[in-house]
């Protein structure tokens, strides 16, 4: 059994690691659900029951408000419905004949329909009237009944122009009157569900969204550029900070400067300094230099590192003196330790996203796997240090040392708990 404070720390660290993993897994599962749903056949998102409610419902995001359907709109609607019925008949005829070229027969329809009322007649889509949309609100209301999956692709495949006229491309309204009339005749047609695989290239983003997104990108780019050329503001800020510092009494100042460096210490020492330095040293010793020049460089690097480490040690001694002298008030804060990163987060970091280009699934998977491996290694390193910090003193001080404890500690420290050394009791033959 391990002593209490040791156990607490170890369990706390491991639980934190486990929770972080668990949290990542949860978020990832959510994304996976979304992705899988996208790759299946798309189902309509509205409830299936047709709403018989008359009267237009307000559709606030639609930019083309038309309050009451005028007589002209209704007649146009009738014409459209008839046209679509005819299209369905023609299509039935064609599909009976065989996989004819549907396009020519349907194209005249596209040309004929006035731009105010739109029809989408992409070659593959069944000629269901569902997509006979009108800008004007049909009396059956905006919130149209859910249409069967086969007709859903219609409103995806609108051209951009038609989308603009609709406002929100996805909010295709259906003349339910026409709908219900036409539906029975269309049922015999083969339903084609929308899948991303087959028809993904026909999708288009809604105009309003695209506008907002490009505005967003533009603004972020502006923020980047203003940050880069920000010297006057930076000067004003520095002046203010100095004034504020000057207004504070000096004694606090001195200890704060030390304290500031102390704050950097965990970050630097635990990760940056020792690991980087160790890394370089490991490299330098492992590297077999091939010629004189490399040999010399190795030597210089090692000597330089040695000097740096000596400097750090000296600085550390100073800090220890300060810590001992000032009886520091240690304030527990609720904030998690800021783990430092191996990469140099540049001083001029930009805010707007940059494209990360990949060319194959393999590459993407390699990238993800490597990133996770590096994070895992980093965590393992941290845990290794914690374990060494806690367990080695125990093993050293416990006399007589129990073989079982040694074995357990060895497995934890040297293999991350994966392998165990074998311990044989060698009883002397009496």
């Amino acid at each position: 059994m391990l002593p209490a404070d040791c156990s607490l720390r170890l369990v706390a660290e491991l639980r934190a690691a486990l929770d972080a993993c668990g949290e990542q897994q949860r978020q990832l599962d959510q994304s996976l659900r979304v992705c899988r749903r996208l790759l299946r056949a798309w189902e309509p998102t509205r409830p299936a029951a047709p709403e018989p409610t008359p009267g237009p419902e307000p559709n606030e995001e639609d930019p083309s408000p038309a309050c009451a359907p005028s007589l002209q709109d209704l007649t146009e609607l009738e014409l459209l419905t008839q046209a679509l019925e005819k299209a369905v008949r023609v299509r039935k005829g064609i599909s009976k004949v065989g996989e004819g070229d549907k396009a020519p027969s349907l194209k005249p329809r596209t040309v004929a329909t006035p731009p105010a009322t739109t029809t989408s007649v992409p070659p593959q889509a069944p000629g269901q009237a569902g997509n006979g949309t009108s800008e004007t609100r049909s009396p059956r209301g905006i919130r149209q009944p859910k249409v069967p999956a086969r007709s859903l692709p219609e409103h995806r495949l609108l051209s951009t122009r038609e989308r603009t006229s609709l406002g929100r491309g996805a909010r295709a309204t259906r003349p339910s009157l026409g709908d219900q009339q036409v539906t029975p005749s269309v049922t015999p047609l083969v339903p084609e569900a929308f899948t991303l695989k087959e028809k993904g290239t026909l999708l288009r983003l809604p105009m309003a969204f695209w506008k907002a997104a490009s505005q967003n990108a533009h603004l972020w780019a502006q923020i980047d550029s203003t940050q880069a050329s920000d010297s006057a503001n930076a000067a004003a800020r520095t002046r203010f900070l100095l004034k504020m510092q000057a207004a504070v009494s000096c004694q606090a100042c001195g200890s704060l400067r030390t304290g500031g460096r102390l704050k950097e210490l965990p970050g630097k020492s635990q990760h940056g300094m020792t690991r980087e330095a160790l890394g370089s040293a490991a490299w330098a010793t492992v590297l077999a230099p091939t010629d004189c020049v490399q040999e010399y460089r190795c030597l210089l690097l090692l000597e330089g590192l040695q000097a740096t480490v000596g400097q750090c040690l000296h600085w550390l001694q100073e800090l220890r003196k300060v810590v001992a002298k000032h009886h520091l008030e240690l304030c527990p804060s609720g904030m998690p330790a800021r783990a430092s990163c191996l990469c140099e987060g540049g001083a001029d970091a930009a805010w707007s996203p940059q494209p990360l280009l990949y060319s194959s699934t393999q590459e993407l998977q390699t990238l993800a796997a490597l990133r996770l491996r590096v994070a895992m290694l980093d965590q393992q390193l941290h845990l290794e240090k914690v374990l060494m910090d806690e367990l080695l003193p125990l093993v050293r001080t416990q006399r007589p040392c129990c073989a079982a404890v040694c074995r357990a500690v060895h497995s934890l420290l040297c293999n991350g708990g994966q392998h165990f050394p074998t311990v044989l009791q060698d009883e002397p033959a009496d």
Partner: protein, 430 residues
């Protein structure tokens, strides 16, 4: 929102300043999350108590760690006060008056205003807040492990629960937790692989759809928007809201100077700090409670490192001197060049360490874009480069981990060797 014209009693400011200041403060309020009205700022200058609650709320929202940003709204006033105080302490805020404000959050609006300005002056606070709640339109994949690291560490300042007998754990429990962690990592990695495959498919199927030719294909968020228009509406609203905040941030940057002039007057108006700080505890940026232990650990590591470096240097020097004996005079030029190069490398390394102590800057976000391997990237990061960088990091970390494990193994082997009547067989491969 209150009067926009400043009272004539304000000391500083030019003619244009009198107009620009309200605009600047209004822009600041618009861009901050949970932003108070401009009236609050005016009241705070005169240290009126009505302004205090709003400022406490604002600061607690701004300072709360990333994962808890949503819950600060539900904190009680006292909890907000405590959070703000501890967070400011850990950031190294120089003025002691803030920490002496009463816990009920009824006073100190001027001090809070100064604290907010200090935060604004120190770093790109506005941009960081905006980046924290950024609407993510693309599929993002971080190329470094910073995000993962930040969550996986146990908070060093957690109040240690009472050490009762129940908190002692067996070392086998620790082994079990390690195994569980390993398993979770493995399933996380495989989930990520699946996620990458799905992303790649979605990108492939929607090639050519995006209105932005540089991107070429849709991301998951955009495809989801097309599949589910209602969810898309929400996304659009969030985008528009963010655009408003971004515009406010840009305006703030334009008018910032005036604000700093005004803050100088506020600083002047606040009472000077009492020079006697003897009775006050020297508060320092939050350090882990185990300061002495940390320093000890670091010092031990550095000393071990120095020993290792010394040995390596001796070996290298010997071999180099043997090699250099046969070299001619052209050597000296090469030697000088090598010296310079190594000097630069070491300086860069030192700078990187120094920079780690600075404020954590979030990395530039990446948006995944699938493109052909040979195409010119323009602006962007190739996955292959990121993979290369990650591989070298991985090698470095593995080397360090091996070294640490070797250290523990040596020590444990010594201890185990001292056990009487026991044969110690290390596991295979060690």
């Amino acid at each position: 929102m209150g009067r926009r014209r400043r009272p004539a009693g304000r000391a500083a400011g030019t003619g244009t300043g009198a107009r620009a200041l309200p605009e600047a403060i209004a822009a600041l309020c618009r861009t901050l999350p949970a932003g108070p009205g401009p009236e609050t700022f005016r009241r705070a200058k005169f240290d009126l108590p009505e302004a205090a609650p709003a400022l406490w709320r604002l600061l607690s929202c701004v300072l709360s760690p990333r994962s808890e940003a949503d819950t600060t709204g539900s904190l009680t006033r006292e909890a907000q006060v405590r959070l703000v105080k501890s967070a400011m302490r850990s950031q190294g805020y120089p003025r002691p008056a803030l920490f002496q404000l009463p816990e009920d959050g009824s006073q100190g609006s001027r001090e809070l205003l100064l604290a907010l300005s200090w935060l604004l002056a120190r770093g790109p606070l506005i941009e960081q807040l905006l980046a924290r709640t950024r609407v993510r339109l693309g599929d993002e994949m971080p190329v470094c492990e910073c995000e993962d690291l930040a969550c996986g560490r146990a908070s060093p300042g957690l109040p240690t629960p009472s050490k009762d007998a129940d908190s002692c754990v067996d070392v086998r429990h620790v082994q079990w937790l390690m195994g569980k962690l390993r398993f979770r990592w493995r399933s996380l990695i495989s989930s990520h692989q699946e996620h990458c495959a799905l992303l790649s498919k979605i990108h492939k199927y929607t090639q050519g759809c995006h209105s932005d030719r540089n991107l070429g294909h849709l991301s998951v968020a955009e495809t989801e928007l097309l599949r589910d228009p209602e969810g898309g509406q929400q996304l659009l609203q969030m985008l528009e809201f963010e655009n408003v905040r971004l515009e406010a941030a840009l305006e703030w940057r334009r008018l910032e100077q005036v604000f700093w002039q005004w803050m100088d007057t506020v600083l002047g108006a606040s009472p000077p700090d009492s020079p006697n700080a003897g009775s006050q505890p020297t508060f320092l940026p939050s350090i882990p409670e185990r300061v002495a232990g940390e320093l000890e650990l670091v010092s031990r590591e550095l000393q071990a490192l120095q020993k290792e470096l010394q040995e390596a240097v001796e070996v290298r020097r010997a071999s180099w001197e043997a090699q250099v004996r046969g070299q001619g005079p052209e050597w000296s030029a090469e030697m000088r060049a090598s010296k310079e190069a190594v000097g630069q490398e070491l300086a860069a390394l030192w700078q990187a360490w120094e920079r780690e102590g600075s404020l954590a800057q979030p990395h530039r976000p990446n948006r995944l874009v699938r493109s052909e391997a040979g195409a010119p990237p323009g602006q962007g990061l190739w996955a292959t480069e990121a993979i290369g960088a990650l591989r070298s990091k991985e090698a470095c970390l593995e080397a360090v981990l091996c070294w640490l494990q070797g250290q523990s193994q040596q020590e444990l082997a010594k201890l185990a060797g001292a056990l009487p009547g026991v044969i110690w067989i290390p596991p295979h491969g060690r």
